[in-house]
């Protein structure tokens, strides 16, 4: 296992790093060392604004996933097994189903002859069908649906370990649901929240199928740009440099989250000791 992962995960990452410093614009051509790709990336505002938009979109997707995934994950953990069964199937299906199929399903929802238009026109909210595809909100909605299961499952697995007795104790002490939620459940579920947050963010910023198909040419995210550079323009050093920047963003986010979690944990402990 170590051989496989080092050989085919760690080595390619270094290879990627190396080729991002190549001077040429073509397929792995030449040798030498140059910062050209990075200079282009950071000096042109086109790239920096796209990177910023991608990160903002990633954060929005992650926050929405947290907001709607938490109640769902929590209730799943507390449900009796027979009721949990079919709900789990619904949660697991988009996770295991190919991304392209899910994206195609959303085209049927959002397209001009789609479900949403048929509904809105019939109800009378819209007089003529409208295109919902090719917009940033559409991309965000589809990304939320794709990555929501990761959040739900991470939260479900930690909540399942919280003893319901703690909540009953809080209720006995006359705290209402919101106080119990804030003072008891959130701190205990924090590890799961962090794992889910991390997974969803990394997945969202590197998405390229969804922005390309649902967003079209109007919504650019860094993942779809990398795909274009690599597979259509064959400009590998440029694609590699962008992938390195993307990877560093993801790692930075992971590190920041971990740091936050550790400090929260220490503060929490100190408070309890006092």
């Amino acid at each position: 296992m170590v051989l496989v992962l080092v050989g085919f995960l760690v080595v390619p990452l270094f290879g990627l790093l190396r080729s991002s410093f190549l001077p040429g614009n073509r397929l792995l051509e030449g040798t030498g060392f140059s910062l050209k790709q990075y200079l282009i990336f950071f000096s042109d505002s086109y790239y920096s604004s796209m990177l910023l938009e991608t990160v903002v979109d990633g954060l929005v997707v992650t926050l929405i996933c947290l907001a709607i995934g938490f109640p769902t994950g929590y209730s799943l953990a507390r449900l009796p097994p027979f009721a949990r069964r079919w709900r789990m199937l619904i949660v697991i299906l988009p996770l295991t189903l190919s991304l392209v199929v899910v994206v195609f399903g959303w085209m049927i929802v959002l397209g001009r002859n789609g479900l949403l238009n048929a509904f809105l026109v019939n109800v009378g909210i819209l007089s003529t069908p409208k295109t919902f595809l090719f917009s940033r909100p559409a991309v965000v909605v589809v990304l939320v649906q794709q990555f929501l299961p990761f959040m739900i499952l991470s939260i479900m697995s930690v909540v399942a370990q919280i003893d319901p007795v703690l909540e009953q104790a809080a209720a006995n002490l006359r705290s209402n649901r919101f106080t119990t939620f804030r003072k008891v459940i959130i701190p205990l579920a924090l590890p799961g929240i962090i794992v889910g947050f991390n997974l969803v963010f990394v997945l969202s910023i590197s998405a390229f199928v969804t922005p390309r198909i649902i967003g079209g040419s109007r919504v650019a995210m860094i993942g779809s740009l990398i795909y274009e550079r690599m597979m259509a323009e064959l400009n590998w050093p440029s694609g590699a440099a962008m992938a390195v920047v993307l990877f560093i963003c993801g790692l930075g986010f992971t590190a920041a989250l971990n740091a936050l979690a550790t400090s929260q944990f220490i503060v929490g402990r100190r408070r309890r000791e006092v």
Binding site: V2, L89, L99, V101, V102, G105, V144, F178
Partner: protein, 266 residues
């Protein structure tokens, strides 16, 4: 009174959010299946008529059926290799204490936080450099890396629940270590192993994000073909092909569910 109000608001909001979430999660798959039975030439909702013509077109299409075959055999190979490799890793992590165990565990789960684009490009370059880019190996290896975290997690979970005393009993009866593993450990954790293999299969079968970088010149899997087709057309043929994928995936999930129960899917 105030506390009763917040309780009420939270209960109603929770129920509404859950209804929204389940609808949202289920709707794309349902719509794909519903529209695949249309008899018209274009995609529209609600679909007109009922026919199986698009399934016939799909089954006659070499492009999609060839890719379905590629997807299937790659996924089967990945499942077998990932299970062997992942079991070895998980067994070591579970049973022995050694230096660098935490690093090994971290490494096993690291493919989850490496963006697919990064992994895809890195592997593509490696295999171009090795002059193997046009073979099926990039796909196999890429999917293997992706599947390992799932296999390790599932196998670790079943090893954690497994009773070591049974192995000790077998050893007391003078069974050799290899025999203990073969006759006691493996049969006991068989459901966990099977579901790990099936997880690996599904991961490989559905993957598009890494695969689309690794199908450089041939050996395209079904999701990659669908992605390429979707880039410039939108018709019921796609719905029929996608429905085939949904059915395969659904059958597999139900099998895992029967094997280990839905709670442990996570």
């Amino acid at each position: 009174m105030k506390s009763d109000l917040t309780d009420y608001v939270m209960r109603v909001a929770g129920a509404a959010i859950r209804a929204l979430v389940y609808t949202m999660l289920a709707i794309p798959a349902i719509l794909v299946i519903v529209s695949s039975f249309t008899s018209s030439d274009t995609m529209e909702f609600p679909p007109t008529g009922f026919s199986l013509r698009w399934y016939r077109t799909a089954l006659e299409s070499d492009r999609f059926m060839g890719a379905l075959w590629t997807s299937t055999y790659v996924a089967v190979l990945v499942a077998v290799i990932a299970l062997v490799v992942g079991f070895a890793g998980a067994f070591a992590i579970n049973r022995f204490s050694f230096r660098g165990k935490a690093v090994l565990l971290g490494l096993a789960f690291s493919p989850l936080i490496v963006p697919a684009v990064v992994l895809g490009i890195g592997l593509l370059q490696l295999f171009v450099w090795l002059n193997l880019a046009r073979t099926v190996y990039p796909l196999l290896i890429g999917h293997l890396v992706l599947a390992i975290p799932y296999v390790v997690r599932t196998v670790l979970a079943s090893l954690a629940l497994h009773n070591v005393q049974l192995e000790e009993a077998a050893m007391n009866l003078r069974a050799t270590p290899l025999r203990v593993i073969r006759r006691v450990t493996l049969p006991l954790i068989l459901p966990g192993l099977l579901s790990a293999a099936i997880f690996a299969f599904v991961t490989s079968f559905g993957n598009v994000t890494v695969s689309s970088f690794l199908t450089y010149g041939g050996h395209a899997t079904l999701p990659v073909r669908i992605f390429a087709y979707m880039d410039n057309s939108y018709d019921p043929l796609l719905a029929a092909v996608s429905s085939i994928m949904i059915v395969v995936t659904l059958v597999i999930i139900v099998i895992i569910e029967r094997l280990i129960g839905a709670e442990r899917l996570a």
